[in-house]
Symmetry: C2
Subunit: 337 residues, 2 copies
C-alpha cells in the first residue's frame, strides 16, 4: 500500500496503443478515445462492456411563455412512451442491449406511477425563470442528491444520460449563457421546431429572463435560477457517476449545458466525459467549441433523450476492446514497418 499509487502515464498508454497490430495512428479517433478511457480508469486494459441509459424527465415553467413548438403535455406523454418502450431512445437502446431507466424528476400534473418508473420528483415542474428563480436552493440540493442516488443503483461501466422536458432548450440556453458568458442569441435555437416567429418570441422571452440576473453566475446559482429539475438531477448523476469511475456519455445540447455546469462544480471529472455527438440545435456547436470538445458523431440530430449518446456507445466499447483484446506485433508475430 502506498500513498502515491502508480499513475499510468500518457506515454505508457501511447506506447501500448502503438504496439497493437496496425500502423501507428491508423485507428484515428478510436485511439484517442481509448487513450482517454485508459487515463480515466488508470489502466492500460480498462474493460468497458456495459452501458445503461438514464432518462430524466421534468417540466419547465418557462414553457408557459410560448417557447416551444409542442404543448407541455408532451413531456408526460413521452414519459409514458419511454415506459412503453416506443421512443427513439428505447429502440436505439434495445438494438444495443442497453437497459433504460426512466426518472420522473418533476413532470407537471399528478405524480406518475408505473412499476418501472423511478420516481424522484422534486415538484410538478419548475417555476418560470422569466419572473424569478426556477427552483429554490433546497430544491436544487434535493435534485443534485437524487441524481447521485439514482446512479448509485446502476452498476454499468458507462452511463448515457438523456432528458425529456418541453421547454428545456430554453432553460439550457439560459443556463449555458450564465455559465459561459457566451452571447445569449448564439445559444438559442429552434428546439423541437419553432418557426421564425416562434424563434423571435423565444429570443425575446429568454433575453428578459436573462436580464433578471448578473452576467456570469456560479454553477449552483445558474442551476437554481434557470435549469430544469431533469438538468439539475442529471448534473448530480454525471458527477456521481464520474466519481464512481463510470464513463459519462454526454448527449445533445441540454446534456452538454448540464455538463458545463458539472464541470464548473467539479472540473476534475472532465476525463470521464465523452462528448458523443454534435447536434443540430444551434447552441450545441457553440457550447462544444467553448468546451474544446470534438464529439464522436455528426448525425444532424436534435432529439435528445440520450439518442446521440447511445449511438456513440459502440465506439466506446470498441475502443475498450482495442485496448483489452487486440494483439501486439510481438504477440501476433507480425513484422513492423
Amino acid at each position: 500500500m502506498t500513498s502515491n499509487p502508480h499513475r499510468v502515464s500518457e506515454a505508457e498508454i501511447q506506447a501500448f496503443i502503438d504496439n497493437k497490430t496496425k500502423p501507428p495512428g491508423a485507428l484515428g479517433r478510436i485511439e484517442a478515445l481509448a487513450a482517454q478511457i485508459a487515463g480515466f480508469r488508470n489502466s492500460l486494459t480498462p474493460r468497458i462492456t456495459t452501458c445503461d441509459l438514464v432518462i430524466f424527465a421534468a417540466d419547465h415553467g418557462i414553457a408557459h411563455e410560448g417557447v416551444s413548438a409542442f404543448p407541455q403535455d408532451v413531456t408526460r406523454q413521452m414519459v409514458q412512451n419511454f415506459l412503453a418502450g416506443g421512443a427513439a431512445a428505447n429502440v436505439f437502446a434495445a438494438s444495443m442491449g442497453v437497459p433504460v431507466h426512466v426518472v420522473d424528476a418533476g413532470v407537471a400534473g399528478p405524480a406518475l406511477t408505473a412499476p418501472t418508473l423511478v420516481s424522484r420528483r422534486i415538484a410538478p415542474g419548475t417555476r418560470s425563470s422569466l419572473n424569478g428563480p426556477a427552483m429554490t436552493d433546497t430544491e436544487l440540493s434535493a435534485a443534485l442528491r437524487a441524481g447521485a442516488q439514482t446512479v448509485a443503483a446502476v452498476r454499468a461501466d458507462a452511463l448515457a444520460f438523456g432528458e425529456m422536458g418541453i421547454g428545456n432548450t430554453a432553460s439550457a440556453s439560459l443556463l449555458a449563457h450564465k455559465l459561459t458568458g457566451l452571447p445569449l442569441d448564439t445559444l438559442i435555437g429552434r428546439g423541437t421546431g419553432v418557426d421564425d416567429a416562434g424563434l423571435d418570441r423565444k429570443k425575446d422571452v429568454l433575453s428578459r429572463a436573462a436580464a433578471r440576473c448578473g452576467s456570469e453566475l456560479d454553477p449552483d446559482t445558474a442551476l437554481s435560477e434557470y435549469a430544469g429539475f431533469e438538468m439539475a438531477m442529471m448534473a448530480g448523476a454525471m458527477q456521481a457517476a464520474a466519481e464512481n469511475g463510470q464513463l459519462v456519455l454526454v448527449d445533445g445540447f441540454i446534456a452538454t449545458a448540464t455538463a458545463v455546469a458539472v464541470l464548473a462544480r467539479a472540473p476534475h471529472i472532465r476525463p470521464a466525459m465523452i462528448f458523443c455527438h454534435r447536434g443540430q440545435e444551434a447552441g450545441h456547436r457553440v457550447l462544444l467549441d467553448w468546451l474544446a470538445a470534438d464529439p464522436l458523431l455528426d448525425m444532424d440530430m436534435r432529439l435528445g433523450e440520450g439518442t446521440g449518446a447511445l449511438l456513440a456507445w459502440p465506439l466506446v466499447k470498441a475502443a475498450s476492446a482495442m485496448l483489452c483484446d487486440m494483439a501486439s506485433f510481438h504477440s501476433a508475430g507480425v513484422s513492423q514497418g
Copy 2:
C-alpha cells in the same frame, strides 16, 4: 401474383418516418439511412439485425516495387492474426457480436490452411501491374465468382467487407484512376505510412503503371489490369450480396475503389451500399466526393480490414429499429406540435 409488385414510394417512407414520436427530421442522418434501407428492401419495416464481416486477403505484385511501408509477409501474418482473433477488425466485430469470415483470395507463398479459413485462392498473389495485367481474364472471372460463392454461404441481413493486402492502396489508386478519370496523384496516399520519399516513389511507380493503358477503362479491364484478387473477389461479393437483398457496408479506400468498379458493372445495386466512413487515406475523400457519397462516420481512420464498416453497423441496426419498433404519435398517444 403480379408482374408489377407494389413499390413502397419515397413519399410513403417519409410519411411513415414523420409519424414516429419525434419532431420531423430530428433523427437527422438516421432518418436518411432508414429511408435508404426501406427503399432498398421495399418495406416500411425492414428488420436488419444481423451482420457478418468478410475479410478478403491477397498479395500484390506491385508491392515488390517498394510502394508500401510494410513488407509483403505482413499480409500472411495478418491472416494468421485474423484467424487468431487478434486484429482490430476481430475485436471490433466481437464487441458487436459480428461473426468474421477470413478468405484467402491469393496470399503469396504456400497455401494457408486453418480450420476456419475460407480458402478461395486464385494464385499466390497477382503479377505486378507495372509491367502488365495484374491478373488474367480467367483469374478475374474466377475471383468474381468466388466472391459471389462466398456470400452465398452467409445469411446475414448486412455484410461488411474488409480487406488485407500489402500494396493494395497502390492497386486501389490505379483502379480508381482508370474507372473515374480522376487525376492519379489525387488518388495516391501514404497507405500504411510511407514517408515523403516513399510517397514520391509510389507516385512514380503508379504513374508508370498507369501509362501502360488508356485513360478510362471498362470495369472488368480495369480490375484485371490493376486490382488485387481480394478486390476482385470483394467486387463479386458486393454485387451478389446486393442482389440477394443484403445491405453492403462499404469500408475505406480499397473497398470504395472496389465499390466504384461494382457500380460500373451493376449501377442498380447502389441502394444496397452504405458508405460507412471517411478515411484518412488521401484518395478516399476524393472517391467519396466523386460518388456523391456522404459517409456516416469521420473517425480519421486508415486501417481497412472492415474496421470502419463495423463501426457504422450499430447505426444501421438503429435505423432499422427506428422503422420497425418506434411508436407513432397515434399509437403512443403523443400530441403533435
